[in-house]
């Protein structure tokens, strides 16, 4: 924060650290958040390197091994660590590849949303008068419709499919994003140092890049983690409802709904994608929560 602090409780060493490092220090102190971060990084690596890591191809069928239980089971097979599904596909390979679809695609979705959301949010925040009023009312309408419903509407228009899901979720998350960024910008604009900059004759671009941006990007990261967890949940929920990824795409929600038929016979085929999904969302939430409380703590100093 730009405000100068003469509080003597804090060592000068602490004050000399950059805000980013202070943030990291607070974040690090929260062990649970740190575990979340490691999990998050592991999943990201898995998502990018899935085809290399997975022992078999996603849709490779082993007809000699249908519905094998995990390898530690008596009838399991060492070749297939987590067993196979009803078409003889290696579950481990499918789950690893599923990381790319569910988690990786969700990151991509959240990134694109961030890009668009920040641009539009900043625009909304900087604009004044009638334009801003209309924009706000439009936002109000779309904000009252939750993201999943909006995504379902868009899918109703575009037809089911993974790519359509991504578009739908981007469009569905966008209003919330614009709204949050706009609020941040408006909040920042009203601060004294910005007014001082205006008076110094800085133009809009200057104020944005030098004044506002350095002060809000950390908050944007927090919003990013929130939209990421929504994106993961929505992609998988749509996959589960058979409106998103279509089989044989190895998206976790789709795998789950595909394997529902085996819920009694092979519960692990339903359990595993669910657990992974849970961890993916949990790690994102942990990172987001950790960041938020670290930001709060830094501010408190």
């Amino acid at each position: 924060m730009a405000k100068f602090n003469f509080n003597t409780d804090i060592s000068s060493e602490e004050l000399n650290k950059s805000p980013l490092r202070q943030l990291w220090r607070h974040f690090k102190a929260n062990h649970v958040a740190l575990v979340g971060l490691w999990l998050f990084i592991a999943l990201t690596i898995l998502a990018t390197l899935a085809p290399v890591i997975a022992p078999y191809g996603v849709n490779q069928q082993h007809t000699d091994a249908l519905l094998l239980p995990p390898s530690w089971d008596d009838v399991g097979d060492v070749r297939f660590i987590l067993g196979t599904d009803d078409l003889g596909r290696d579950i481990l390979s499918r789950l690893i590849n599923g990381t790319t679809y569910t988690f990786g695609l969700a990151i991509l979705t959240a990134l694109i949303t961030t890009l668009l959301g920040v641009v539009l949010g900043v625009f909304a925040g900087m604009s004044k008068g009638v334009r801003s009023s209309i924009l706000n009312h439009m936002l109000d309408v779309t904000l009252s419709i939750p993201s999943l419903l909006l995504a379902i509407i868009i899918i109703a228009l575009l037809g089911p499919g993974l790519l359509n899901t991504v578009w739908a979720i981007i469009l569905a998350l966008l209003p919330q994003y614009i709204h949050s960024v706009r609020n941040l910008v408006v909040q920042e604009l009203s601060k004294d140092y910005i007014v001082a900059q205006w008076l110094d004759g800085a133009n809009s671009w200057h104020i944005l890049s030098r004044g506002i941006f350095p002060n809000i990007y950390e908050h944007i990261v927090v919003i990013f983690t929130m939209s990421l967890s929504t994106a993961i949940l929505d992609i998988s929920a749509l996959g589960f409802l058979k409106l998103g990824a279509q089989p044989p795409t190895a998206e976790w929600g789709a795998i789950l709904s595909e394997n529902l038929a085996f819920i009694y016979l092979a519960p692990w085929t339903v359990a595993l994608p669910g657990i992974l999904l849970f961890f993916a969302v949990l790690s994102t939430n942990l990172v987001g929560d950790g960041l938020r409380s670290a930001l709060k703590k830094r501010k408190a100093i």
Binding site: L87, F262, L265
Partner: protein, 533 residues
Amino acid sequence: MSKFIFSIVILILTGCTEQALINQNNHGLIYCAEANPVSFNPQLTTLGSTIDLTSKQLYNRLISIDANTGEFLPELAHSWKISNNRKKITFELRQDVQFHQTDYFTPTRKLNADDVVFTFSRLFDAYNPYHFVSGGQYPYFQSIGLDQLIKSIIKESEYSVSFELFDAQSSFLANIATDFSVILSAEYAKSLEIDETLENLDNYPVGTGPYKFKDYKRDILIRYYKHDEYWKHPVELEQLVFDITPNSTTRIAKMLTHECDVTPHPNSSQLSILASRKDIKVLKETNLNIGYWAFNTQKAPFDDNRVRRALAHAIDIDKIMHAVYLDNGKRLESILPNTSWAYQAQVNMPNYNPELAKRLLRQAGLVEGFKMDLWAMPVARIYNPNARKMAELIQSDLNKIGITVNIVEYEWNTFIKKLEEHAHDTVLLGWSADTPDPDNFFSPLLSCAAALNGKNAANWCDPEFDLLLSKALDTIKIEERKEFYFQAQQMVIQELPLFPIAQGMRFQASSTNVENIEIKSFGGVSLAKARKL
């Protein structure tokens, strides 16, 4: 001890309601159905899922077929006589058959010849006010050409009806005994004409069967009450409820939680779960049916025999038998199942040979491969317990010879409707026999008439083939008929408008306290005698 405490806890949790529910339960049976009925009049459909819900529950036929001996049995007609030239058949009707009394109709008379005349004249007499009602399509009767066969129906006396035919067709009686040939009430039809609500004849049914219609909520339930004055035998159940549950996993789960008493076609992969439960029994019945892969022969490139043959050669049926039928089915060697008396194994049947498939495609000029749609039924049927999975297997097999497959799925009734418009490239479908007569596998599936009304999924019309079928029908001697059917089978496998894949088993799961549910090797289920202990 701990078990004892546990059961007490459960008793407390469920106890107070359990007793009463059991009382309520004894009077009613819940049958988990796979799909909404398309109509409550079986004349209008060939869908097994609809027939199961309607035909033997709400209606009766003039005669029926004994599933074991193949002989005809009296039903609404207590006897029948065939003239010497076999062109006139006279049915003598029972005089004690009462129609349903429902919220919307009160019969004033018992069944008589008028009802029979009305029922059949609706099918083929364009002057019958009901002929064009509810779409005016009678797919089964049109496919087998019954509308071309019957010259006239004559009311001989109050309880006697005769059918005059153009040709002496050997399968006529068998067709009269199918689940489609149910008898409707002429009096009810008259009363609807006065109200000008003709379509109610098919939506609010009145029949003579063991149960009468009470309520239908789409996607939720169908409720029947017992028909108190059922002519054949007393009906045990007060209520028969069909719980419409398209998802087969949900159906099984409902069996386990006792929300269903009976469920048809459990997914074969779940049979072991059901079999391991003491409170559930699984019935297994061989059934006259074929699951096939039909090619839309009017669409390129499927109009090319070489392409069809290539596709057939490209798929590994052993894998399908294992993964889809879980080894509970039989590979087909012809278009007829081997239990049919006209069956002949075909030497020409394509075997698994991807190399040959590629060669055939090259000959057809499709070196690059192509993209195609493969329609997979969304419901489990006897002939194909899991079309989606079969489609995925085929998808991966065809991928190896350079064909990209797009799997298409719709809700069952929409699926059938779009199929009838021939909007598909290829489709995984099948046929369960309605009579043991072999013609039942040819005319309804591959005749030109069936191509016209959309039931011929291959959209294949070959006059030569039709001629063969009518020759077979005009013959009485069974050995001669066989010859014709042998030729027909050879022709099908030669031309391959559809590729027969497998014959499935009919499974049915029910609670152990449910008795007397009749499933036969052909036709729909009958719950007339069902009871709960």
